[in-house]
Amino acid sequence: MLSKRIIPCLDVRDGRLTKGIRFEGNADIGDPVESARRYYEQGADEIVFYDITASHEKRGIFLEVVEKVASAIAIPFSVGGGIAGVKDMRAALMAGAEKVSVNSAAVLNPCLIAEGAEAFGSQAVVLGMDVLAVPVSASVPSGYEVVIHGGRRRMGLDALDWARQAVELGAGEICVNSIDADGTREGYELKLTRLVAEAVRVPVIASGGAGEPRHLLEALTQGRASAALIASIVHYGEYSIAQLKAYLQAQGCKVRPVS
C-alpha cells in the first residue's frame, strides 16, 4: 500500500527562500538548496518549489536553483510558478525536476495540461489550484471558487468542475490550496480537500494551513488527501519532518519510515 507523502513547499523569490501569509508580506528566510537538503535528510518524501519571482528576466536564477537542488537530493521534486507553456515545462524537467505544477496559466489555457501530459506523461503534470470559499451560486455550486494570480482574480469557476476537467485533460495529481487557510497555521480546509479527493481518482495534495502535527493527520484521514504540503510548520525549525512522521505513524497513518 502506498504511504502518505509529506511534502515541504519552498517559495523561491530571486533565488532565495521566502514565506508569506495569505500571499502577502514575503520575508527572506534562507537558501533553498540548503533547506531542500535538510528536508531530504529529515525524510521528506518529495519537495515542491514555487518560483514567485516577479520579473521574467530572473527566471534563469530559479532554474539554476533547480539544478543545484537536483544534485543535492535523491527524491522526486516538482517545480511551479511561471510555467506558461511546454517550453517552460521542458526547461524545469531538464534542470532535474520530476514534475511541473501549473496553476493560473492552466485556468486561462486548459490545453496547457493536455500538452504537458502528451509531451511528458500525466505523472509529470500537477495541477495546482488556489481556492476561495464563496457563497453557493449557479456557477459555483460547491461553494469553492478557483482564483488565479496569487488569489487576486476570481474566475467564476467551480473548484470541483475544474478538478474533474483537469484530470480529463491529463493532470496526474491535484494540489488543492485554500486561500482562506494559507499561512494561518489553523489547519487545512478539510471539507474542500475531501470534496476534491472524492471527485477525482488521481492523488490529491492538501495545501495551506498546517500549523500542528494533528493538522496533517486530519488532512490525510478526514480530508482523504494522499499527501500533505507543509511550509511554516517546518521552515522555522518548530518541527522536523522526522517528528511529524513519527507522530503520524504513532496515530496509525502509513508513512515512509525515516532511515
Partner: protein, 213 residues
C-alpha cells in the same frame, strides 16, 4: 566506470546524479565501444514501451544489450528499463527485448487498495518490498525501507526470477533477476538513501566482478 544507456528515455541525468551521490564515476552513452569498456551497465527509462523499443531497434542498441547480457556482464534495469528486459509489454502490445522470461501487464483499474479505495493508475509514490529471495542488491537495506514508484504497467516473471514483490491493488514483482542481471520497477535514483544504497550495492558487485577477471 559505469555506463548509463542513453536512448532518449529521459531519466539518465537523474541516474548519473545518483551515481555522483554514491561516488561512482559514470558516463551517459549510446556508444557500444564505450559501453563495453565499462564495468557495469544501467538501463534506465521513463515513458512508453513502444516508443522506447522503436528507438532501441533503430539505433541497434537492442543488440548491444543482448550482447552485453550474453557475455554475462552486470546490468541493472530501472522502471521502463526493467519492463523492456522481458519478452512482451501490453503497453502498445509491444514485443520487447526478451532477455528475461516474463511480460508487462496493465494494472486493472477495478483493483482496490488495502483500505478499499479504488487504485489510482499509475501507481505513483512510496511503497515497500517483500523480499522473496536473497540478493546482494539488498545488503544493508532495512526490510521496511520504501522506494519510489511511477508506473502504469507491472511485470510478471517466473518465480525463480522474483527477488521482491510489492502490493498495490495486487501483488506484483518489484525486483527481479539473477546474479549480475537485475531490474527494479521503482526508481532507485529517486528513492532516497535506500535507493542509493541499492545502487551502491550494484556498483560494488560490478567492481568486484571486474577485479575478479
Amino acid at each position: 566506470m559505469l555506463a548509463i544507456l542513453d536512448y532518449g528515455a529521459g531519466n539518465q541525468t537523474s541516474v548519473r546524479r545518483a551515481l555522483d551521490f554514491v561516488g561512482v564515476p559514470s558516463v551517459v552513452t549510446a556508444d557500444p565501444e564505450e559501453i563495453f569498456r565499462s564495468q557495469g551497465l544501467i538501463f534506465p527509462g521513463v515513458g512508453a514501451a513502444g516508443q522506447a523499443m522503436r528507438h532501441l531497434r533503430a539505433t541497434g542498441l537492442d543488440r548491444t544489450l543482448a550482447d552485453w547480457v550474453a557475455q554475462g556482464r552486470p546490468l541493472l534495469g530501472l522502471c521502463l528499463g526493467c519492463q523492456i528486459l522481458l519478452e512482451h509489454s501490453e503497453e502498445n502490445d509491444t514485443p520487447t527485448l526478451g532477455l528475461i522470461p516474463g511480460r508487462s501487464r496493465r494494472f486493472d483499474p477495478a483493483l482496490r487498495e488495502e483500505d478499499g479505495a479504488p487504485i489510482a493508475i499509475p501507481h505513483m509514490g512510496w511503497n515497500a518490498l517483500r523480499r522473496r529471495r536473497p540478493s546482494p542488491l539488498f545488503a544493508g537495506i532495512a526490510p521496511e525501507a520504501e522506494f519510489y514508484f511511477v508506473h502504469g504497467y507491472y511485470v510478471e516473471v517466473a518465480p525463480e526470477y522474483e527477488l521482491a514483490v510489492t502490493y498495490y491493488g495486487r501483488e506484483f514483482c518489484s525486483v527481479l533477476g539473477r546474479d549480475g542481471l537485475w531490474a527494479t520497477q521503482f526508481h532507485v535514483e529517486k528513492s532516497g538513501p535506500a535507493g542509493l544504497r541499492l545502487l551502491a550495492n550494484f556498483c560494488r558487485y560490478c567492481g568486484e566482478r571486474a577485479d575478479a577477471e
